[in-house]
C-alpha cells in the first residue's frame, strides 16, 4: 500500500467504527485475523462503552505503519476490567500504531492513559 492508501484506509476505518455499533462482521472488514488482540479490544470496549468514539487528533504514515493520536470517548454502560457500569463518561487520550497490509490492520501497538481512565471511572487506582 502507498502512504496515501494507508492514510485513507485508517481514516475509513476510524470513520466506520467511531460513534457506531461495532459488530464483528464490520470489524473483520478492517482487521485481519493476525490481530486477534485488536478484535478483542474492540469487542470489550464496545460491550462496556457502546458506540464509543475514536476521535483522531494526529495521523502519521511511514511505510506500512500508521500512527494515530486519538481521544477515546464513551459512556460506561457495561462491565469493564471487572468494574461494573458506572454511567460515567470517559475521554481518554492515547496513541495507536497500526501496521497495515492489503487494506487490513495486521498488527497494532497501543498506549492509553489507563490511570486517567480509572480516575474518570471514579476508581481509586
Amino acid at each position: 500500500m502507498t502512504t496515501a492508501e494507508s492514510r485513507a484506509f485508517i481514516q475509513r476505518y476510524a470513520e466506520a467504527l467511531s460513534g457506531k455499533a461495532k459488530p464483528p462482521a464490520l470489524v473483520n472488514q478492517y482487521v485481519a485475523d493476525s490481530d486477534e488482540a485488536l478484535k478483542q479490544h474492540i469487542a470489550e470496549g464496545e460491550a462496556a462503552f457502546p458506540r464509543y468514539e475514536l476521535v483522531g487528533e494526529d495521523l502519521i504514515v511511514d511505510g506500512d505503519k500508521v500512527v494515530l493520536r486519538f481521544s477515546w470517548r464513551g459512556t460506561h454502560q457495561g462491565a469493564f476490567m471487572g468494574i461494573p457500569a458506572t454511567g460515567r463518561k470517559i475521554d481518554v487520550p492515547g496513541i495507536i500504531i497500526y501496521r497495515v497490509a492489503d487494506n487490513k490492520i495486521v498488527e497494532h501497538w497501543m498506549q492509553i492513559d489507563s490511570m486517567a481512565m480509572m480516575q474518570q471511572l471514579g476508581v481509586q487506582a
Binding site: D58, I60, K65, V67, P93, I95, I97, Q111, D113, A125
Partner: protein, 123 residues
Amino acid sequence: MSIAENKAVVRAWLAARHAHDVEAGVALWVEERQDWLRTAFNGFSEGFPDLQVTITEMMGEGDKVAVWWVLQGTHLGTFRKIPATGKSVAWELCDLYTIENHQIASLVRRTDTLSLYQQLGVA
C-alpha cells in the same frame, strides 16, 4: 528538513537521555522548552539513576516523529513524589515530537501510567 533528519534529532535526544547527558539533551530542544526539559530530565534521572533507553519503533512524516521506546531502570530515588521503592521497571512510552529547524519544538507523550505504578507496587 527531511524525515530522516527529523528522526536523527529524536534519536540524538533519546541517546542523550540514555547517556544521562542533560546538556546534550537540552540543546536539542527549542529555547522556550529548555528550562522545562531540564527539570523533567533531572526528575527522571533522580527517580531512575540507572535508566536505559531502548527504541522499539520510530515513524516520521512531515514535521512529526513518533517513537515507541522502553525505559528500563531501578527506582532508586523519588519520582513524581513517590519515594524510592527499589523496584526494577520496564516502562513503555509512545512519544510524538514536532521538529522545527533541527530542534524539538513539542512533545505529546502517551503511556500506561497505571502499569508503571503497578510495577512500583504503589497502585
